[in-house]
């Protein structure tokens, strides 16, 4: 009799609750069916391959000043030994470009991961518990909103020391707020829904409610904000490096642009030096837009017919 009445309750899935597996399936669905998202993933795949195989692809050490006998191979035009020419101190531009994919993706993925993680946790906690937890977190978000992003990154990186991880840290400190806001709004409505209510009645702990019943439902939106953050992070790292506050130990695309700028490559017309890094940044950021566009269609189906 008792078990019968429990069975009579609608199963959580029937009420539209997502499980972790379902969230993953819809993630793949978008990639498979959206043309733009597919192109985006292909661009990512290509660059990640280059990042992994950089030592095989790059003909030289990116920091090496190349000599030919006694002569420094500086300012060489693009041609057989140097696919994109050399810098003013004889470094191979193509090798720098290939190795530059590594910091770009390290920063992009780790910053996106932390932004999505902190934002989701803060959003779920604020939305689920409400009260003072909500008030404190949202006031923090207000302050984070008032702080000008790039100037703050510059000041903080100068304070903490120029390293890739400090750039990631400052981005996580400031960018979590957007994800947190939307996740919180989503949680506020989920909290009142039937499947959460029935799980609560069945005696699920708050941790279980948040982790098993709420988190999978906010996963798509967290992924959307995460994929947008990849592009932001790569652009920010490039800007910070361009301004001269980058990690001096690593050659990134922003570092290359900074190097070209201060070495007068603009006035000597060394387009082969400063055009390629910008194109790489543009392609990666654009791929991020393409992927997130696919998610927007998943999240806001109204857009799909347009």
């Amino acid at each position: 009799m008792r078990s019968g009445s429990v069975e009579a309750l609608p199963r959580p899935h029937a009420l539209g609750a997502a499980s972790w597996r379902r969230a993953w399936e819809s993630f793949w669905g978008v990639l498979r069916h959206d043309r733009f998202a597919f192109v985006g993933i292909c661009i990512y795949g290509l660059f990640i391959l280059v990042a992994l195989a950089a030592p095989l692809i790059a003909p030289y050490d990116p920091q090496q000043t190349i000599m030919k006998g006694d002569e420094l191979m500086a300012n060489q035009p693009p041609g057989p030994p140097f696919p994109l020419g050399t810098t003013n101190v004889g470094r191979d531009i193509f090798s720098q470009l290939a190795f530059g994919t590594r910091p770009a993706f390290t920063v992009g993925f780790s910053a996106a991961f932390f932004v999505a993680l902190i934002g989701t946790v803060a959003g779920i906690v604020a939305g689920f518990y409400g009260g003072w937890a909500d008030a404190v977190l949202m006031r923090l978000a207000d302050v984070a909103f008032g702080i000008p992003f790039l100037p703050f990154v510059i000041v903080l990186v100068a304070f903490l020391g120029p390293s890739l991880w400090n750039i990631v840290l400052t981005m996580a400190l400031l960018l979590w707020k957007d994800t947190a806001r939307v996740v919180r709004a989503q949680v506020l409505s989920l909290r009142e829904r039937g499947f959460v209510e029935s799980a609560r009645v069945l005696g699920a702990s708050p941790a279980r409610l948040m982790l098993v019943h709420i988190a999978p439902n906010v996963l798509p939106i967290a992924l959307l904000y995460g994929s947008l953050a990849i592009g932001w992070a790569i652009l920010t790292e490039a800007a910070v490096s361009f301004l001269g506050f980058g990690d001096p130990a690593r050659i990134s695309w922003g570092y290359m642009l900074n190097d070209a700028y201060i070495s007068q490559a603009l006035s000597t017309g060394a387009y082969n030096w400063f055009v390629p890094p910008g194109i790489c940044i543009m392609l990666v950021v654009m791929a991020g837009y393409f992927i997130s566009r696919g998610y927007e269609e998943l999240l806001f189906p109204r857009l799909r017919r347009q």
Binding site: V143, G146, V155, L243, G244, L266, G278
Partner: protein, 329 residues
């Protein structure tokens, strides 16, 4: 209504000051907790220990932290931002001198970006499903994805160094003298210098209003009053401008605050590419030179600028859309 609007404004003002105070406090802590002596840029190797002590004392750096903090708050509120280590001049004077350059570049770019973005966005919505759209949209996304300083570098290399159409640095030609600030800002020489940084910033900012306007237009075009206008047999252009565009415009205005946020970051890098003597360039130079009072002052003014502009955007929005009541916001 006027009463609630005054109250709303007072509340927003109080919130604004609170955020500014929190930012100032964070900044104070960052700079005081910096490793090493903050006077390292100031102190010469030839200084004796007594001279160093006297200097540290004159900057109040031997006081307990909380006393330094109170002094900092009092002086900042009074508009006294200290003395720059590297320029050997009052910080307040340095930041006020560069502020107009930043404001002119930023505001003109935001206005042009919004005009251009909304018009192009409406145009692309109108051209939906045509070749124009399938070339236009990826192009817009590409421009939006390009790092703004790189776009600036290319413009600089092409139009300044190769073609020599535009100057490559500064706001006016070296040695030029003007009787007043207004005369300088309206001189042809200044506008000539402004062109390339302005184009760069506009290209960076136009993506958001453009894409928003386009998607709003597509939404509005399907609403009943547009269908009604079509049924009345009004010409397509009239429907587009008088009916659809007007209604699609309002949500674009809400993006104003967001665009202001972008433009502040964009300004910092673009000013550095074009050696434009603004607040962003001052901040970068100060941080690079470890000139803490100047970095602090420039940052505070940038933050204040962004907060004030956000407030103005809010006021403009409530004024534009009577449906939004002060009390609710």
């Amino acid at each position: 209504m006027p009463r609630s609007s005054t109250r709303w404004f007072a509340q927003r003002l109080a919130q604004m000051l609170l955020v500014l105070w929190v930012i100032a406090t964070i900044l104070f802590l960052i700079f005081r907790l910096m490793p090493g002596n903050p006077l390292v840029a100031y102190i010469d190797t030839t200084f004796t220990t007594e001279q160093k002590q006297a200097l540290i004392h004159s900057f109040g750096l031997d006081l307990p932290l909380w006393q330094q903090y109170l002094i900092f708050l009092r002086e900042s509120a009074a508009g006294n931002l200290g003395r720059s280590f590297s320029f050997h001049a009052p910080v307040a004077q340095l930041v006020w001198e560069t502020l107009p350059n930043t404001l002119v570049l930023m505001l003109s770019a935001v206005v042009v970006a919004f005009l251009l973005g909304t018009v192009t966005g409406a145009f692309l919505a109108w051209k939906r499903g045509t070749v124009v759209e399938s070339i236009g949209i990826p192009l817009v996304l590409a421009v939006r994805s390009a790092p703004e300083f790189w776009v600036g570098m290319i413009l600089l290399a092409v139009f300044s160094f190769s073609l020599r159409w535009f100057p490559s640095f500064g706001t006016v030609s070296p040695g030029a003298q003007y009787a007043s600030l207004w005369q300088r800002l309206t001189s042809p020489d200044f506008l000539h210098h402004l062109t390339l940084p302005l184009i760069t910033l506009v290209l960076y900012l136009q993506g958001l209003p453009l894409l928003l306007m386009r998607s709003n237009m597509l939404d509005v075009m399907e609403e009943e009053f547009v269908v009604m206008a079509r049924m009345k047999g009004l010409p397509e252009r009239r429907i587009l401008l008088a009916h659809a565009a007007r209604n699609a415009l309002l949500p674009v205005v809400t993006a104003f605050a967001l665009v202001i946020g972008y433009s502040i970051g964009g300004n910092v890098v673009i000013e550095n590419v074009f050696s434009w003597p603004g607040l962003g360039r001052l901040l970068v130079r100060a941080v690079a030179a470890k000139d803490y009072p100047l970095a602090q002052g420039a940052f505070l003014l940038i933050a204040a600028m962004s907060i004030v502009m956000n407030l103005l955007a809010d006021v403009a929005y409530t004024w534009l859309d009577p449906r939004v009541s002060y009390a609710k916001r």
